[in-house]
């Protein structure tokens, strides 16, 4: 008898939970941000900090959930199939426009609605402080005379910084030897130990060692010089017309209503301006770079084309 009552109670509670909520009252429950990578990475840190301050703006909890695997494919596929009511979001980062060219994924950037871009990280090459190449000119000179001899580590084959390194090769007209590592950490370790000549990376990787004088930034691929290192020129200033970085923003599944997107955009924008978050970002050396949905969408489209060409080239090699 008791057993039946218990089962009945559970069924009743279950029904209550499943009653659909009207869309005008968004958000009606917690908002989930899915991160398609394991906890602890740069994306993870930035968005955990942002989620904490944005909860106030939305009036509901903002929860970060990691769904790693497949270089990001698993997380993106899942959000693509989620209900487009604005309660499930995903961190849209550069690999979103790279992955579809490398493996036959079910998604492309067009399966998502861009909401806002939060961070833009410059990419760079670093070498050891005691390296023989004191400037980019010397580095490129050596590379031209010895094609394929300079080993450049990266955080993963086909990943963001690897492709940036390949694109730089083309722009500078040199040939380098790219060594993949399982993440930014191992690639920096290999550089510190002198096992590779240079590394292609993105802040905060290696920044602590540059500040401590053990590593040097030999090539900086951003538009402007970094505030933390005003003496380091960008490659544009040194004759190579090349800029490339990685963006990190938020997106929702396609079909999310425009007014929900606007609410999310406004809330996260306020979150980005929260002094606590700004301080976190400065501490982590990540470069905040706001972009609204239309602009963010254009950047995604442009990068999708750019990486399509790049990945084709790697596949030919």
């Amino acid at each position: 008898m008791l057993r039946h009552a218990l089962v009945g109670l559970c069924l009743l509670l279950g029904c209550l939970v499943a009653i659909p909520a009207p869309a005008a009252d968004f958000p009606t429950k917690e908002v989930q941000i899915i991160i398609p990578w394991a906890a602890g990475g740069a994306t993870d840190l930035v968005f955990r900090a942002l989620a904490a301050v944005t909860a106030k703006q939305l009036g509901k909890a903002v929860v970060v959930v990691n769904k790693p695997g497949g270089g990001g494919a698993i997380g993106y596929t899942e959000v693509m199939q989620a209900r487009p009511d604005g309660h499930t979001l995903v961190t849209a980062v550069t690999p979103l426009t790279i992955l579809p060219h490398q493996a036959s994924t079910a998604f492309t950037y067009q399966n998502f609605e861009p909401i806002i871009n939060v961070v833009e990280d410059p990419a760079m090459f670093q070498v050891r402080a005691d390296s023989a190449w004191k400037s980019l000119a010397e580095f490129l000179d050596y590379a031209k005379k010895n094609p394929g001899m300079i080993t450049v580590g990266n955080s993963g084959a086909g990943g963001g910084v690897h492709l940036i390194a390949l694109a730089f090769e083309k722009a500078a007209g040199v040939k380098l030897n790219h060594i993949p590592f399982a993440g930014g950490g191992p690639s920096i370790t290999a550089l510190l130990g002198g096992h590779i000549h240079a590394v292609s990376c993105s802040p905060p990787e290696g920044i602590a060692h540059v500040k401590a004088g053990k590593l040097r930034i030999i090539a900086l691929f951003s538009e402007k010089r970094m505030e933390a290192f005003p003496a380091v020129p960008v490659v544009r200033e040194q004759g190579v017309n090349f800029t490339m970085g990685q963006w990190r923003g938020l997106a929702a599944p396609k079909g999310t209503p425009p007014d929900v997107i606007k609410k999310l955009h406004d809330a996260f924008k306020k979150g980005m301006e929260d002094p606590a978050f700004v301080k976190n970002a400065v501490d982590m050396s990540v470069h905040l770079s706001y972009m609204g949905p239309t602009e963010f969408g254009k950047v995604m489209a442009a990068d999708h084309e750019r990486y399509a060409k790049l990945v084709q080239e790697i596949k030919k090699q």
């Binding site: 602890g40 497949g70 698993i74 394929g148 084959a157 920096i188 370790t189 510190l192 602590a208 500040k211």
Partner: protein
């Protein structure tokens, strides 16, 4: 050296403020809980609690989060011993002898020795951290891809048949592990391998799913073979005085604990899943050095004391690359790095100089934390040991529930649960035909890393195999591997080495 001691004292001043003691306690409790629940490991625990630390100062935050990491190493052995489900990836070896001890009614001594061994190992390892950190970090940097490859070849060869038994079967299981490890994305070219166009397989097969499946689920399936009445009778209910380790137990465990500490501390410096490998190495060493090696696998306390100490020592030494180089070598320390960054502290060469109160405060809190964990875990030993009194018909479904929930918390993926069940079925079959799970898991862990190191080395050397022989450390490991392989042969040919109780070299 004296200077370090002085700094350490100021660190204790920081660590013993009521606030920091509270956070240390919180970290220890959360860590233990996270370690006990199978699947949920320190990675998830630390990541989940990072937001809770946003309003704390950096020192208190790191004290708490670090506590979760080494706390998990204490708690991980609990389910390994009681229900043969590894609570933590580093507790897999503890299942082997720990569970057998529990079946003989000796769960209490097993749990207690785990706590004691973990405490001793953690404390000694912290001393190592304090006095040897900078030179060890430099030594760790000297390991490049060729050195890793050779080290892993050595580890693979030495540890493949760690549990004894048929070498052929162990090698077969190792190869299965290697094959499973190739599923996913090729680490060098980025192409998918063996994924059969499935997005879920793109991420590869999750190690935790295989571990929980092969040990926990398979054990439940094995239990279910017998009629329930027979099962209930088989449980040996321990008496009160049998709940604590005897003097003999303590004496037997002393050297395994010390050796486990040394091994764990050294191996913890190698990037990757060092605590897991350290436990394998410790088990191997204890088995080789034991007076009665045939007891291993049947409930030898050395097989519990050694690995449990090793994983705690490895966990402490994993902090060295994090603090000194600012580079995380093990996944939980990667999360900790993130926590540092969020609080505006960049670990690395400048850490000790710029934030001495943080560094020494955290180190001192590790001593405090280890002590708190000992006090937390020991009194619970009788409680946990009595969990075995729960009738199997209630306990076994609870075990399954534990496995399911724990597994899901790792990646929030239902696919992992299917994987766990599939390997549970496989594990049951394996038991029937006496195939060991340990070599499979070892190969799953080492295989991908071995492959990456091999290919990276060849890329750096432009295809020249000589790179493995021209670098001294790499050459040393390869020679050690050859020596190890040649030993049984040498014994047969020259009759060298002591005669074993089992009559002949275990080749």
């Amino acid at each position: 050296m004296l200077e370090s001691l002085q700094y350490l004292l100021t660190g204790f001043g920081v660590a013993t403020t009521p606030e920091n003691l509270f956070y240390c306690l919180m970290g220890a409790i959360v860590g233990t809980l996270v370690g006990i629940l199978p699947g949920l490991g320190p990675i998830a625990g630390i990541a989940l609690l990072i937001p809770a630390t946003f309003n704390l100062n950096a020192t208190s935050a790191i004290i708490m989060l670090a506590g979760i990491y080494y706390g998990a190493m204490y708690g991980g052995s609990t389910t390994s011993i009681l229900i043969n489900v590894p609570g933590e990836t580093a507790s897999v070896m503890t299942c082997i002898d720990g569970y057998q001890m529990a079946r003989k009614g000796r769960a209490g001594p097993a749990l207690a020795i785990c706590a004691i061994g973990s405490f001793v190992a953690g404390t000694i390892a912290i001393f190592g951290l304090v006095f040897l950190a900078p030179p060890l970090a430099d030594a760790a940097l000297a390991f490049g891809p060729p050195e890793f490859f050779s080290l892993m070849v050595f580890g693979f060869v030495v540890l493949s048949n760690v549990t004894g038994g048929s070498l052929l079967k162990a090698l077969m299981m190792a190869i299965v592990g290697l094959i499973i490890g190739t599923i996913g994305i090729d680490p060098v070219s980025g192409d998918p391998r063996f994924t059969f166009a499935s997005t879920a397989l793109l991420g590869g097969i999750e190690f935790v799913a295989v571990a929980i499946g092969l040990f926990g689920i398979a054990e439940v399936l094995k239990n279910v073979e017998q009629p329930i009445e027979q099962l209930e009778q088989a449980v040996l209910v321990p008496r009160l005085r049998e709940l604590f380790p005897s003097l003999r137990d303590l004496k037997d465990s002393l050297w395994p604990i010390l050796r486990g500490t040394g091994l764990g501390f050294g191996i913890g410096l190698v990037p990757g899943p060092a605590p897991v490998i350290a436990t394998y190495a410790s088990y191997m060493v204890e088995k080789r050095l034991a007076a009665h090696p045939e007891e291993f696998g049947q409930g030898a306390i050395q097989g519990v004391a050694g690995p449990e100490s090793a994983n705690n020592a490895a966990c402490q030494s994993a902090f060295i690359p994090l603090f000194v180089l600012g580079i995380p070598f093990a996944p939980p320390t990667a999360i900790l790095l993130g926590a540092f960054l969020i609080h505006g502290v960049t670990p690395g060469p400048g850490l000790i100089g710029e934030h001495p109160e943080l560094f020494w405060g955290v180190i001192a809190s590790m001593y405090v934390g280890n002590f708190i964990l000992l006090l937390l875990n020991l009194p619970f030993v009788p409680l946990f040991a009595n969990i075995l009194r729960v009738p199997k018909k209630v306990l076994l479904p609870l075990v399954i529930l534990f496995c399911f929930t724990g597994m899901y918390t790792v990646n929030n993926a239902v696919f992992d649960i299917w994987t766990m069940l599939a390997f549970g079925a496989l594990g049951w079959l394996m038991r029937h035909w006496a195939y060991e799970a340990a070599p499979l898991l070892l190969a799953l862990v080492l295989g991908p890393k071995l492959e990456v190191a091999f290919r990276q080395s060849l890329m750096i050397s432009h295809g020249d195999f000589g790179i493995f022989l021209s670098r001294p450390v790499s050459l040393a490991f390869l020679l050690a591997t050859l020596l190890f392989l040649a030993m049984p042969l040498a014994r047969k040919l020259f009759g060298v080495g002591r005669a074993r109780a089992d009559g002949g070299a275990a080749a």
